[in-house]
């Protein structure tokens, strides 16, 4: 009886130690597919943030509309970043993967900063933020095109 109980306790332990958490390891083509989708999403979300700030400057947006739109954009941006960062890229494309990952992280920060500026009503920062978002937009498009 005692052995059976011990066996029941030890068996799952042995099984789980053999099943450690490892990130998915796609091949280069599969990684590029995921990265390309994430970059497309990032282009859309950075573009959205820039457009919201521009329309806020023109006083074309009602009360909470811009904030609500950017909260969704921020959320979606986080998902795009995660979709790439949770993959283990093949060693052969490590440099490229690192560049994409850095760009996505920068885009994530930029969308978040735009949302923060909108919530705090810091209108003076809008042109600078928009300039940064537009530059990022171009870089993300370029990165997507070269994948």
């Amino acid at each position: 009886m005692g052995r059976s109980v011990a066996g029941l306790l030890v068996a799952p332990l042995l099984l789980t130690t053999g099943c450690g958490l490892v990130p998915a390891r796609p091949d280069a083509a599969a990684w590029r597919d995921t990265a390309s989708t994430a970059l497309d999403d990032a282009v859309a979300l950075v573009g959205t943030a820039s457009m919201v700030l521009r329309e806020e400057e023109r006083q074309h947006v009602l009360g909470g509309y811009g904030v609500a739109t950017l909260v969704h954009a921020e959320d979606a941006m986080g998902k795009a970043v995660d979709s790439v960062d949770t993959l283990q890229p093949p060693a052969s494309i490590e440099k490229e993967a690192s560049h994409v990952s850095d760009l996505l992280a920068e885009a994530d920060d930029a969308v978040q900063t735009a949302r923060e500026a909108l919530v705090s009503g810091d209108q003076a920062s809008y042109p600078r933020l928009r300039h940064h978002l537009d530059a990022l937009h171009d870089q993300l498009q370029k990165a997507g095109g070269t994948l």
Binding site: M51, Q59, Y65, V67
Partner: protein, 409 residues
């Protein structure tokens, strides 16, 4: 004079009630990614819904009975159950999407998370379905839905190259970076959004609720053949503004806020305010229609008393079904599932269920026992058959395309 007013009111509510969350999202997504290359898909979808809505309206006016009431009787319980299951599941999915759509619309003005708004929205929808008069519900929400005309005004204000738009639609001019499978997936989704099954259930059951007779056929046809195509123009306008403003910036749509941005660009705060009223009215109206349609379909299949033209006490099981489906919709939405994703899924599954929904209508509309001299003529049958073939092709292709493209990613 009274009759002309009734026709005008019917047409206006048909336009205002035509667009729902599925049309809003799908047309904006398509415009932002594929430009106007799917314009003809919308036109074909709108013609299809006109053909079948006219049939189901005629069935209701002449037989004084709604579609599901006759489907089981005419086609037997087994085929009737298949029809009920497919259509009801899709309608319930659409109901979830519409409640989520109302909450998302209110979030845009309140800055309160849509998840907190969902129970409140569902309660108000249920209250309206329980207490409000059918005609008040339909007319008020339909007329407020006309605020979505602001999309057409914005398109005119943006002044796109109209010739280029027509050319894109005529040539199915897909942008170079997109695959044809993805294009086909969204074409199926757009077709499903235009021909959502609940529209015919609601239309025919509404005819019974409003006690249509053969004398009302003229008004009904005016609603269908004038109101629906004008509603279709609204759909094209949504795609048009997305093509003009979002596509050049590479902004693919995945939130309701993005759908409205082109209107802000073109018309500013006033346009945006009108648009939000339109969003709320269109999604709220569709939530009421889909909620009622879930109750209609189940009650009509099982032969229970149904409808808002009788007292709540007389139709307790019908109202219980509405209450249960409302609670179930809230439960699903509170899992934090993205309402936009539910919307996208609902339009594709609508496409899958299309033949099961429309085939029985074609059969009943040809039965002289129910329709007497008002059975389908050659034109209605010809168009009905052509569409049935098209619907079958679309239904067969929908799920494989969904899998192959990863839901259009």
């Amino acid at each position: 004079m009274k009759k002309y007013l009734a026709v005008a009111l019917g047409i206006l509510t048909a336009i205002g009630g035509f667009v729902d969350i599925g049309d809003l999202v799908t047309n904006a997504v398509v415009g932002s990614r594929f430009g106007m290359s799917m314009g003809l898909v919308v036109v074909v979808g709108v013609l299809g819904i006109c053909v079948y809505a006219e049939m189901s309206g005629r069935v209701a006016a002449v037989s004084r009975r709604a579609t599901f009431d006759l489907v089981r009787e005419r086609l037997g319980p087994r085929l009737g159950m298949l029809n009920l299951t497919a259509s009801m599941l899709v309608t319930f999915l659409t109901f979830i999407a519409e409640i989520g759509g109302v909450a998302l619309s209110l979030e845009l003005v309140s800055s309160v998370s849509y998840l907190l708004l969902v129970p409140f929205v569902a309660f108000v929808v249920w209250l309206v379905l329980w207490r409000a008069k059918f005609s008040h519900m339909e007319n008020v929400l339909g007329l407020l839905g006309l605020c979505l005309i602001v999309f057409s005004v914005a398109l005119w204000q943006l002044g796109p190259d109209w010739g280029d738009y027509v050319s894109q639609a005529a040539r199915f001019a897909k942008p170079g970076g997109e695959k044809w499978t993805t294009w086909a997936y969204y074409a199926v989704a757009l077709f499903g959004a235009a021909m959502t099954p609940y529209e015919v259930f609601f239309f025919s059951s509404g005819g019974v609720e409003e006690k249509w007779t053969p004398e009302d056929l003229g008004v009904m046809r005016a609603n269908v053949f004038i109101g629906f195509p004008l509603g279709g123009l609204l759909s094209l306008s949504i795609a048009g503004v997305a093509t003009a403003v979002l596509l050049p910036q590479g902004i693919g749509v995945d939130s309701l806020g993005q759908v409205g941005l082109p209107v802000a660009v073109a018309l500013g705060k006033i346009g945006l305010a009108i648009l939000i009223v339109g969003f709320v009215a269109a999604t709220f109206g569709a939530a009421c229609e889909t909620g009622l349609s879930v109750g209609y379909s189940i009650a009509q299949y099982f032969g229970w008393q149904w409808g808002k033209y009788v007292t709540t006490r007389e139709a307790t099981r019908f109202h219980a079904m509405i209450l249960v489906s409302t609670l179930a919709a809230v439960a699903v939405l509170l899992t934090a599932v993205d309402p936009i994703l539910v919307t996208e899924a609902s339009v594709v599954f609508s496409a899958v269920a299309l033949p099961l929904t429309y085939f029985p209508i074609l059969v009943v509309a040809n039965d002289p026992d129910y329709l007497g001299e008002y059975v389908n003529g050659r034109l209605a049958n010809g168009l009905g058959l052509v569409y049935l073939v098209l619907l079958t092709v679309v239904a067969v292709a929908a799920l494989p395309l969904m899998v192959i493209t990863g839901m259009g990613a």
